[in-house]
Symmetry: C2
Subunit: 228 residues, 2 copies
DNA sequence: ACCTGAACACCGTTCAAGT
DNA sequence: ACCTGAACACCGTTCAAGT
């Protein structure tokens, strides 16, 4: 009983399934149909194979996504970073944000920050290095990197919801929520009116600089106090 | 509010279904089985009703989750905040983090920050107010609140993954990822060895203070430059 | 070793109908 | 108005078997 699976076209060898082929196909789905469409089953269909065939090359969906991110990180342009340490710290952090904003599927794996961080480590390493060059001890430099990483994660979530808002996939506040929460605070009413404009803005860069300066100021304080 | 705390006989009267009854049952599932177990179907089963009966009282699952959060926010203890503006800003921000860390299902709705923010607006309002009391103009105070909110979101993601790590639901880095990413950076190897200790720490408070001070310093700079 | 077929154990949500 | 039954259109993943 021979399965008449339609030829995979394009490829010369139908049995040429590999991690490379899989991630390429996944990226194509991401680009053409959006990250909501990327499922193991959909991916298998696009390769004319059984979903289970995928599991011979990737452990699970999370691994696939991280792999996708790692590939993007690898091929990402690596600009020369500024000489001046503080500028370098800001630039490397900005780079992290820019790269990750291109990975729309990110929210699904954002809860695995450690795995994620490994995938983009050439950038997070630069951040740590730059922090160290600003005078922070290795330990504090790593903490600084972590702080920036977490802020970046929060900004990326916000970016994602802004995008969905544009797409029109978002939801209206729904009276139930307003009712359940708008009881004891009069202020919100006036503030929420301005909200749409405010959340529409990309405030990442400004925030980043505030944070970097906050870190460096704290360092200078700590460095001066013990000796004086 | 016309809920006279009446009959909710466990299965005796199926017509006693209401938003109150639904959210109570959902909270029970959350508490007893964890947020992964909370689904519309599971919830319906626990109430001995059809999944679709739920949709007469909540629009969809997201609304249910936000409702759950709004309830928690409402019943959360409201401590007296410090008089001193900077201290108040820090304290209110810490409060936001503390409250949200108790909502383990949060990551599912973290991508709707605007809806979320309405649910906990009594805290976010305090943050904005405190920032204004520090001298920021209303617009800048709102931006400060936004910055803090986003950092908090990032910290909460990190917290969540730390919890999963403890639970043992986490994944080992998997050679494929290491292979795909650890090619061009030698530094990562030495750093990732220290990682487990570092990510295990709760660095939120320290980071928060850095950020608050960064914001206030930027404000002082901006306020002084134009006049002098 | 690599892949298939079938199944397991689920999801959120829509629709038409019942009371 | 409130609820059910059945279906739609999916998920990720395991298992045993085939080549």
């Amino acid at each position: 009983m021979r399965t008449p699976a339609s030829r995979r076209g394009k490829g010369s060898n139908p049995s040429a399934l590999s991690q490379q082929v899989i991630t390429d196909a996944a990226q194509r789905i991401l680009d053409e149909e959006g990250h909501e469409s990327l499922s193991m089953r959909r991916l298998a269909r696009s390769l004319s194979i059984t979903p289970m065939a995928l599991y011979h090359h990737v452990r699970d969906k999370d691994e696939l996504l991280i792999l996708l991110l790692a590939k993007k990180a690898q091929s990402y342009p690596r600009p020369e970073l500024p000489e001046e340490p503080r500028e370098r710290l800001v630039a490397a952090s900005q780079l992290l944000y820019d790269l990750l904003s291109e990975a729309a599927f990110l929210s699904e794996i954002l809860t695995s920050p450690d795995l994620l961080a490994v995938a983009v480590s050439w950038i997070t390493d630069s951040i740590t290095e730059a922090a160290a060059a600003c005078g922070l001890r290795p330990e504090d430099a790593t903490k600084a990197q972590q702080l920036i990483w977490r802020y970046t994660a929060g900004e990326l979530l916000a970016l994602q919801s802004r995008r969905r808002l544009k797409q029109g996939t978002s939801k209206r506040p729904s009276s139930a929520i307003a009712e359940a929460s708008a009881e004891k605070h009069p202020r919100i009413t006036s503030m929420s009116a301005r909200w749409p404009d405010l959340i529409a803005q990309n405030t990442h860069r400004r925030g980043l600089e505030n944070i970097v300066d906050g870190i460096l100021a704290a360092h200078r304080r700590d460095a001066h106090l013990p000796s004086g």
